[in-house]
């Protein structure tokens, strides 16, 4: 029996931490814009160097997150196409039953926790939420960042609607991370796998029972293809991904630089000669 089990590669961990940093920065710099009248907002914005600086940081973090997305398209594609690990990743009815089973277990109706595979139903739910959330944030963020381009195609109302969705989704995402993610990996028990890449025996037993059982009998939930097959698929995948990445990176560049929304100077709202003696001017001897 092994003491610990490999969970995340260095690449996985880099991806995760890029996401953690960009998400946190986006959340802080975004929520202060959502609630400009809060006292805490003042403190944070002062600390960041003003609203313009806050927006710039928000945009930079958005760019980092988008780059993380481009990278993730590569790693997820590699898992699905080259390593054929889809079986691990796709949500299924088994996950729904596992969720019900977990509720039963917590209520004392079941003796044992559900035996889950490499990715639990809780993890899959979170992953799908992140995909949904990132897509909503990216699309609505683009619309707000480029309102002229957006309204060239869509009614103007889409801009404030995008703002409503961006704000709503932000609250949903932040609360979901706090309630769901923080509970599952920090409070329930401190999961160190995003630091050292490993899960403990106890964590495997509690959360990935089916995967552990398979490992113990020398099997895999989704067996890896042979080295030769991997090599062959790699040769196809890498150039295709390179092409996709170039297109996506071009998209990111466009996203960041699409339009110059407004002029940067102040147009005086009124053109009038300030000193212009009137018809009633009289001079009184003081």
């Amino acid at each position: 029996m092994a003491e610990s089990y490999p969970r995340f590669t260095v690449s996985d961990r880099i991806e995760h931490w890029a996401q953690v940093v960009s998400f946190t920065v986006l959340a802080i710099t975004g929520l202060v814009q959502k609630w400009p009248e809060l006292g805490l907002t003042d403190t944070i914005i002062n600390w960041l160097g003003g609203i313009e600086a806050t927006r710039l940081i928000h945009h930079i973090a958005a760019a980092v997150l988008l780059l993380a997305v481009v990278y993730h398209v590569g790693t997820a594609g590699y898992r699905l196409y080259v390593l054929r690990q889809g079986k691990l990743m796709y949500p299924s009815m088994r996950d729904a039953w596992a969720a019900i089973h977990a509720v039963g277990y917590n209520l004392g109706l079941r003796e044992e926790p559900p035996k889950e595979g490499h990715f639990t139903f809780a993890e899959k739910a979170e992953y799908l939420s992140i995909i949904w959330g990132t897509a909503v944030m990216a699309v609505t963020g683009f619309m707000m960042w480029n309102p002229i381009a957006t309204t060239a195609l869509l009614p103007g109302q889409f801009i404030p609607a995008a703002k409503a969705a961006h704000g709503g989704e932000a609250i949903l995402a932040v609360l979901a991370i706090i309630v769901w993610h923080v509970y599952h990996v920090h409070i329930k028990s401190l999961n160190m796998s995003m630091f050292n890449g490993l899960l403990t025996q106890h964590e495997m037993e509690e959360e990935h029972g089916r995967e552990l059982d398979l490992i113990e009998v020398g099997e895999a939930e989704a067996p890896l293809p042979s080295v030769g097959v991997v090599e062959k698929r790699r040769k196809i995948f890498m150039p295709v991904y390179a092409l996709i990445a170039i297109v996506l990176l071009g998209g990111v560049y466009l996203f960041l630089t699409f339009e110059q929304t407004a002029i940067l100077t102040i147009t005086p709202p009124e053109q009038v000669q300030i000193y212009q003696p009137g018809p009633t001017t009289t001079t009184t001897l003081p």
Binding site: D42, I148, P160, I171, K188, G278, T280, T284, L285, P286
Partner: protein, 399 residues
């Protein structure tokens, strides 16, 4: 020696200023005293004529009276200055009327307070009067106003921060001084009434007045409605601020808010009081609000109320001439967003709160999240709490 012209006749031309050839005021005083009781109104003209004649006589005969014993009561001054046609000429050739309407003076605040002429005209202690240091009319007016601070220190301190004081410090002699707004001889208390303010400012700012007069505010005020802002409501009274002063522009939405968020006042005109909140909750207003907190001394390129609605010429948004009238909105947006086209203006909700009829998309997206967030987070919380509960229960069972 200042040339004094009285009734068109020049006199006192070569008087020695230092000796201070004193007006024969004591002589006159003697005359008046000799006449016994206080002079009746009917005899005032006669007396002042006598006084003037005495002055003239004293001057032409070179009679000198020591300044310490000169009479400085107002009556003495009015002996000459109540007479029509008296002017004061400055070296530049500028000529000023030196006539004071005694009755109006008596009715004025200063008159009511029994102010003596020489309390303000401190440079005058002898006759013929000392030459003013100012050489032209404008600097004369400015110099004479310097005395106001002696009694009105608080106002003078506030004026020191005004756009007028700054302009004068920068060398602009046209910048208003006390007496440009407050006539020291005839002003009553309160010094300038609200409805009189625009006419006062107009004396120097007629171009702006013309715009204001046509505006929804100006039109109402000039027809006697005191609800609307007059010049000083926005610009301040003594510490008057102008548009080149960054904080003024940055904080200007709060000036508008002071009336436009007043439910009682706005209900009279059926104007929404949500205009400020809806502004602050959108991009422009959020930025301005945050900007004014962080960098109140700096300028932002985001618009404030007047950037869209106009400044002095504000008219209601349903007036086809308004810059925010539906048909004119695009042109207004394009002043800052030159590439904007037809759909762009509705990206701004026009101070409306989204509802199912006005801006349904925004309304339903907001509603969607109002339902989605508690549902999802509630389900997550429930699941997490069940897990906590299960753990506690199992720990108890298994010790």
């Amino acid at each position: 020696m200042s040339p004094i012209i009285m009734g068109g006749k020049r006199f006192g031309e070569r008087m020695n200023r230092r000796v201070g050839l004193i007006v024969g005021l004591l002589v006159v005083g003697g005359v008046l005293a000799a006449s016994g009781a206080a002079p009746s109104a009917a005899s005032q003209d006669e007396q002042s004529a006598q006084l003037a004649a005495a002055v003239q006589a004293a001057v032409s005969s070179g009679t000198m009276i020591h300044p310490d014993v000169i009479a400085t009561d107002n009556k003495t001054c009015f002996a000459c200055h109540a007479r029509s046609g008296l002017t004061y000429e400055l070296p530049s050739g500028d000529s000023v009327s030196a006539v004071i309407d005694e009755n109006k003076w008596m009715a004025s605040e200063h008159g009511q307070q029994d102010m003596a002429c020489v309390q303000c005209h401190t440079g005058i202690s002898e006759y013929p009067h000392e030459q003013a240091t100012a050489t032209d009319l404008r600097s004369f007016v400015v110099d004479e106003s310097k005395v106001c601070v002696d009694c009105h220190e608080e106002q003078a301190t506030r004026v020191a921060d005004s756009v007028h004081a700054q302009a004068r410090a920068a060398g602009n002699q046209n910048a208003a001084t006390c007496s440009d707004c407050h006539d020291p001889h005839y002003a009553v208390n309160p010094p300038v009434s609200r409805t009189d303010v625009p006419a006062t400012c107009r004396e120097c700012h007629s171009g702006i007045y013309d715009l204001y007069e046509q505006s929804v505010h100006g039109e109402a005020l000039t027809t006697g409605n005191p609800d609307v802002p007059t010049c000083t409501d926005c610009h301040g009274v003594h510490e008057i601020q102008g548009p080149d002063n960054s904080p003024f522009r940055l904080f200007s939405p709060k000036i508008c808010e002071s009336c436009h968020a007043d439910k009682k006042l706005m209900s009279k005109y059926d104007i929404s009081t949500e205009v400020f909140n809806t502004y602050v909750s959108d991009f422009h207003g959020t930025t301005v609000l945050l900007f004014e907190k962080y960098a109140p001394d700096q300028q932002t390129d985001k618009p404030v109320c007047v950037d869209c609605h106009g400044v002095h010429d504000i008219i209601p948004p349903n007036d086809p001439r308004s810059s925010v009238f539906e048909g004119n909105l695009l042109a207004t947006c394009q002043r800052c967003h030159p590439d904007a086209d037809a759909n762009f203006p509705t990206a701004w909700l026009g101070h409306y709160e989204p509802d199912p009829h006005k801006w349904p998309l925004v309304y339903y997206v907001t509603l969607f999240y109002k339902i989605l967030i508690p549902t999802v987070i509630g389900a997550m919380l429930l699941f997490v709490l069940l897990d906590v509960f299960g753990r506690i229960r199992r720990r108890r069972q298994h010790g």
